[in-house]
């Protein structure tokens, strides 16, 4: 606070100053974040190496051992065709994560662009974009996603597009608000004086400041996207059997709960829950990592 001409603070860069150091600090500071990142690492591990590591071929049927309860041979039991539920649950991770990450990335990018434009320039562009987004929001989102998949066809890509479309308004609105409050800020004006065009001021100076709240949105959305994809598969839209996918497995397993074969639906459901849980926990940590103000 005092006179800074005389003081010469330590010249050593503190540990928290590097990006990696900061990430380590955030993880250490909050055990919940640490847990979330550990679980994320586990799911990513499953997605990358799962198919190579699982004990059984997820598609191989074995009529002799159909509908067996969990045992040392089959940790999560077997389904009505004798396929190993554990192998299927693990292998499905890749597909489910791909769908949710791709869908969220797509809506993040499109939503950011639309929201930035609306928030920065305002006027009729803003009004027009907002009404379009309102139209999307006016539909029950899951029904809209069903409609999109039904119209475009039953493929993984179309599930991704459908999930992305229903999430765009959330990102666009968030970015719009964040950009709008900063468009007349001093640093935006200073950037203009430094020779930046409007587009550059927006992209380089204003937009990155909306990342911290966006990260919370992203992590929540990753969870929703998985639920959405599973939901579509559950009602028969989207991924087609026999591809292992959590939603289909829950849907197929649901028929057997009445007759006592609970493991068919419970384990994929549990995995789905854990994945959503992980992404929801991730939010605060991601926000802290991208927020420079946390680097005190």
């Amino acid at each position: 606070m005092a006179d800074m001409t005389a003081s010469t603070p330590d010249t050593t860069r503190r540990k928290g100053d590097t990006t990696l150091g900061h990430i380590v600090y955030v993880l250490r500071d909050n055990p919940v974040t640490m847990l979330a990142f550990a679980m994320l690492a586990f799911f990513l591990g499953c997605a990358f190496f799962g198919p190579a590591l699982v004990p059984y071929d997820p598609l191989a049927t074995n009529a002799a051992r159909a509908l067996e309860a969990p045992s040392w041979d089959h940790w999560f039991g077997t389904d009505n065709l004798g396929r190993d539920v554990f192998s299927r649950v693990i292998v499905a991770t890749r597909l489910d994560l791909t769908i949710s990450v791709a869908a969220v990335a797509l809506s993040f990018v499109i939503g950011s662009i639309l929201g930035s434009i609306a928030g920065y320039w305002g006027g009729w562009l803003d009004a027009a974009l907002n009404r379009c987004l309102d139209t999307i929001m006016a539909f029950p989102l899951f029904v809209l996603a069903m409609g999109v998949v039904a119209a475009l066809g039953n493929t993984v890509e179309n599930i991704i597009y459908a999930t992305a479309i229903i999430n765009i308004p959330f990102y666009a609105r968030l970015v719009r608000a964040e950009v709008n409050i900063r468009r007349h800020s001093g640093f935006a004006q200073a950037a203009k004086l430094a020779g930046n065009s409007d587009l550059r001021v927006l992209a380089v100076h204003i937009f990155p400041n909306s990342l911290p709240p966006m990260m919370v949105q992203v992590s929540l959305n990753l969870g929703w996207a998985i639920l959405n994809a599973a939901g579509l598969s559950f009602i028969g839209l989207g991924v087609a059997p026999p591809t292992p996918e959590w939603g289909i497995m829950v849907a197929e397993g649901a028929n057997f709960i009445v007759s006592g074969e609970w493991w068919l639906a419970v384990f994929p459901g549990l995995w789905l829950m854990l994945a959503v849980f992980t992404f929801n926990l991730l939010g605060d940590g991601l926000r802290d990592i991208v927020d420079p103000r946390k680097r005190t």
Binding site: T5, T8, F187, A190, G195, T296
Partner: protein, 542 residues
């Protein structure tokens, strides 16, 4: 009436415990005004929060006692404190708009506190609230009763806050920077009002301020705080004329006042001769019939009404006015962030107003006109380091890259007195004065001919303000820049500017060489501005 003994307050933070107040003792006598003066971080506000027991989460009174009229405030229950707050001790806050509920009519907000403390019933609350508004000299109080805070000016809002604070006739009023952010004439009106009311009612008052000049005018006693300690206490006149503690002397020196030169603001041991700056006859900037009209809800609003002025090469022009006078609009048009409705801005003989502000970043003159912004914090991208802020204009306009760029950034940091290690820090890791230096370094990076300074020291402590103003004087002499210095503080303008323009409601009402305008104001408005500025007693030994 109020006695604080050995009070210390600590806050728990992520980096450990911070001792905000470290054992202070003070007394407020009935009917007397005590000034607590200090710079940011001195613990002056925390002291008042502690005695009202409204400390932020994590704050805790560690030791000491606070006794008000025989009641131990530290031991009092929360229920008793609720009765004391507003009824016995009231508080006025820094930002009147933030202190009022934006969606409730101001009259109702006055009623709330009356009813809360059983000073009024539902039936007579309305009449009493209007009486309270009249007491703070609000014209047409019955009509204002129905206004919302956003419909009122800042000064009016502060009056409402004062009305709320005084509604229940408390015995002690705590005013925490009550006039920060208000215009200088409003500041005087508000302070005179508070002074009159406390005198009439025989109330005690604690005035918390960073402005030693203001405190000296309205207080019976002043305590000077630094880093949570009281460094000096005494009679305001004596503090000014014969400060005992080195810190008080530094504060007294740094307070801009009549008769002091800019170097006098610095502590004596760091004073050097003031460098002279050359004013050439050639006009650098010529503004002709500049008009700015905004479309308003009830017809167009003329922010700037056809003004003309010029700045000679090397000259410093002060642009003085209160909020709404159009001075910021004018400076933004000159720096080409806004387009004038009509008129010409000739820079070096070329009409730069002909290029729209949206395309001006590619104009060859872009680097010649730069600006230092009012709020240093707001003008730095929170995601960028100090170095990246300074490098921005160099990289974008001068197309500098790599080691040449780094060398220039280091050179600029040196020039503005910013220690090199701070360059890798983010804005929130820098102090206010350091951020101001970064802002100045960025503005002078391209060696502009004209630098627009929009109240560059308004958010700074006086001792930092003194250093920054002197830095600006040095840079002007070194680089031969012309300044357009926008300010509401005449005492500061007097120190820095050769000529001055006084603006009111979009028009220039007074102009001329600074000394003659200040000493013999021709316009009544200029005179009222000068009279409203606090006049601290002049220290004998300068």
């Amino acid at each position: 009436m109020l006695s604080i003994k050995d009070l210390s307050v600590a806050f728990k933070t992520r980096k450990g415990e911070v001792n905000a107040v470290r054992g202070i003792s003070l007394d407020v006598a009935k009917g007397k005004t005590l000034g607590i003066v200090g710079e940011s971080g001195s613990g002056k506000s925390v002291t008042s929060y502690a005695l009202m027991r409204i400390l932020d989460a994590g704050g805790e009174i560690r030791t000491g006692e606070v006794v008000y009229g025989g009641i131990d405030l530290r031991a009092a229950s929360e229920r008793d404190m609720r009765d004391i707050r507003g009824r016995e001790i009231s508080m006025i806050f820094q930002n009147p708009r933030a202190a009022l509920n934006p969606i409730r009519r101001v009259g109702h907000q006055v009623e709330d506190v009356l009813i809360q403390h059983a000073q009024a019933t539902r039936q007579d609350a309305n009449a009493k609230a209007i009486a309270a508004l009249e007491a703070v000299k609000i014209n047409d109080a019955a009509a204002r009763y129905d206004a919302y805070p956003f419909e009122l000016s800042g000064g009016m809002c502060q009056r409402i806050v004062i009305a709320i604070a005084l509604a229940c006739k408390p015995q002690l009023l705590i005013a925490d920077e009550p006039t920060t952010g208000l215009d200088i004439t409003t500041q005087k009106a508000v302070m005179d009002l508070v002074g009159d009311l406390t005198r009439e009612r025989g109330m005690g008052m604690i005035l918390i301020t960073h402005d030693l000049g203001l405190a000296s005018q309205y207080c019976d006693r002043i305590v000077v705080m630094k880093d949570g300690l009281i460094v000096e206490e005494g009679d305001p006149h004596k503090l000014f004329t014969d400060p005992q503690h080195a810190y008080t002397r530094k504060l007294v020196d740094a307070t801009p006042r009549v008769g002091a030169s800019i170097r006098n603001l610095l502590p004596p041991e760091t004073r050097t001769a003031e460098p002279a700056h050359k004013v050439h006859d050639r006009p650098l900037l010529e503004v002709r019939d500049l008009v700015k009209t905004y479309p308003g809800k009830s017809g167009p609003v003329q922010a700037v009404k056809s003004i003309s002025f010029q700045i000679k090469s090397g000259q410093s022009l002060g642009l003085v006015g209160e909020s709404g006078s159009g001075k910021s609009t004018t400076s933004e048009m000159v720096v080409r962030l806004q387009d004038p409705t009509s008129g010409n801005i000739l820079f070096d003989g070329q009409d730069i107003a002909a290029t729209a502000s949206a395309r001006f970043m590619r104009h060859p003159m872009r680097g010649e006109i730069q600006m230092v912004f009012q709020d240093a914090t707001d003008s730095l991208n929170p995601r960028g380091t100090a170095a990246s802020a300074i490098a921005e204009p160099l990289a974008r306009i001068a197309k500098m890259r790599g080691s040449k760029l780094n060398a220039r950034v280091a050179e600029l940091a040196e020039l503005v007195g910013l220690p090199q290690p701070l360059l890798s820090r983010f804005p929130h890791q820098l102090s206010g004065g350091q951020k101001a230096r970064v802002g100045i370094a960025r503005a002078i990076a391209l060696e502009p001919k004209l630098l627009i300074l929009d109240e560059p020291t308004a958010a700074l402590d006086v001792s930092i303000q003194a250093i920054v103003l002197n830095l600006l004087v040095d840079l002007r002499a070194q680089m031969g820049m012309s300044y357009l210095f926008v300010s509401h503080d005449l005492n500061v303008v007097r120190l820095l500017c050769d000529e001055v323009l006084v603006m009111k409601q979009g028009e220039i009402v007074d102009r001329g060489p600074t000394a003659s305008v200040m000493d013999n104001p021709s316009h009544t408005y200029t005179r009222s501005l000068i009279e409203a500025a606090p006049q601290p007693p002049n220290p004998v030994a300068a």
